[in-house]
């Protein structure tokens, strides 16, 4: 936790509110620190997009993005229980879809179709 907080402070100058919500940015930093520390190598990350002509991120974009994330979080809360639990495990259970299948005893096809259903519901909720 302290590692993540320290990294957030440290990389605050790289945060662009028009490209990711705060929750998402915290999520990606926490995920990367976890991998760096547990596996002792720096996780391969995509290269950054080159800077655009605008210096400051657009306020309206940033606000719209924050609202989108709140809407998405709300949609996740409204998912059927089985689907919601699977999405939470997929992100915070440290398991791949096949590992979730092995652990729960459910066939991989069931795991994949539940996740797909959950994603479809979320997409629908965001439209």
């Amino acid at each position: 936790m302290q590692d993540v907080m320290a990294t957030l402070w440290h990389k605050a100058n790289l945060y662009d509110p028009a490209r990711a919500s705060v929750a998402t940015w915290i999520f990606t930093i926490a995920r990367n620190r976890k991998i760096d520390l547990l596996r002792r190598y720096a996780r391969p990350e995509p290269e950054d997009l080159p800077w655009g002509p605008e210096d400051a991120p657009d306020q309206a974009d940033a606000i719209a993005l924050q609202q989108e994330t709140s809407k998405l979080a709300e949609a996740v809360r409204k998912l059927p229980k089985k689907q919601r639990e699977l999405i939470e495990r997929a992100y915070f259970g440290d398991l791949t879809h096949s590992e979730i299948a092995a652990e729960t005893g459910l066939p991989l096809g069931t795991i994949k179709s539940r996740i797909r259903l959950a994603l479809e519901r979320l997409r629908h909720a965001m439209n």
């Binding site: 320290a6 402070w9 440290h10 990711a20 998402t24 940015w25 720096a42 995509p46 989108e68 979080a73």
Partner: protein
């Protein structure tokens, strides 16, 4: 027909966003996303979902000295660097892994100008670069697990699909294919991640596999 896709499939992109893939697959996804804006947008969606799930988790109690420890960590950190774009063939995540661009790769010859270099390997998952001279074929092979192939230079054909720089092919156990590098004068360089070893079908390639660890 085996499923062949030019873009990264959702389960691998979601796995990358969640941080549960082996290093070899992380490397291929990060390199693909660097070259493909569609994959970048989709990845942002999955990270957004991670943020949404995170914001809904229960709060945890912190140790009383958390703030002091955090401040001490910040004081020890070096300057931050961006993963910036350069003019070479390799995007930043691959360049970092190799320690340079294509000229810095330590190739090992497999046969007739075909070369490989293993970049990283943890457990069953391995990432390697392949160099296939223009017009030549990779030995025919199938797989035990998943194979992701990303084109960095030149192009190749496999079954009835064609792949160029930035394109990604995902093959599974059912796929039995012989990729052939385009015969247009440009040699083909690919980044390949596999979990489970490749299974070559001919006898000579199978012998080579024993000795060359390909």
């Amino acid at each position: 027909m085996p499923a062949i896709r030019h873009h990264v499939p959702d389960d691998l992109l979601m796995g990358y966003a969640a941080g549960v893939l082996p290093q070899a697959f992380d490397l291929v996804v990060a390199t693909h996303v660097s070259l493909n804006d569609d994959a970048r947008v989709r990845l942002a969606g999955y990270e957004e979902l991670g943020g949404a799930v995170l914001s809904d988790l229960k709060e945890a109690e912190l140790a009383p000295d958390s703030l002091e420890q955090t401040l001490a960590k910040i004081a020890r950190m070096g300057p931050t660097a961006r993963n910036t774009r350069t003019n070479g063939i390799f995007p930043a995540p691959l360049r970092k892994m190799v320690g340079g661009d294509a000229a810095a790769v330590k190739w090992k010859t497999i046969a007739r100008g075909t070369k490989q270099a293993v970049l990283c390997s943890d457990g069953d998952a391995t990432a390697r670069l392949f160099y296939i001279p223009a017009g030549q074929a990779m030995p025919e092979h199938s797989h035990r697990g998943t194979e992701m192939t990303l084109v960095l230079q030149g192009g190749y054909s496999s079954a009835d699909a064609h792949f160029l720089r930035g394109d990604l092919e995902v093959a599974d156990q059912k796929t039995n294919h012989t990729p052939i590098a385009d015969d247009d004068g440009e040699d083909c360089i690919c980044l390949v991640a596999t979990d489970g070893r490749l299974l070559f079908n001919g006898l000579l390639p199978r012998l080579a596999q024993v000795f060359l660890r390909i």
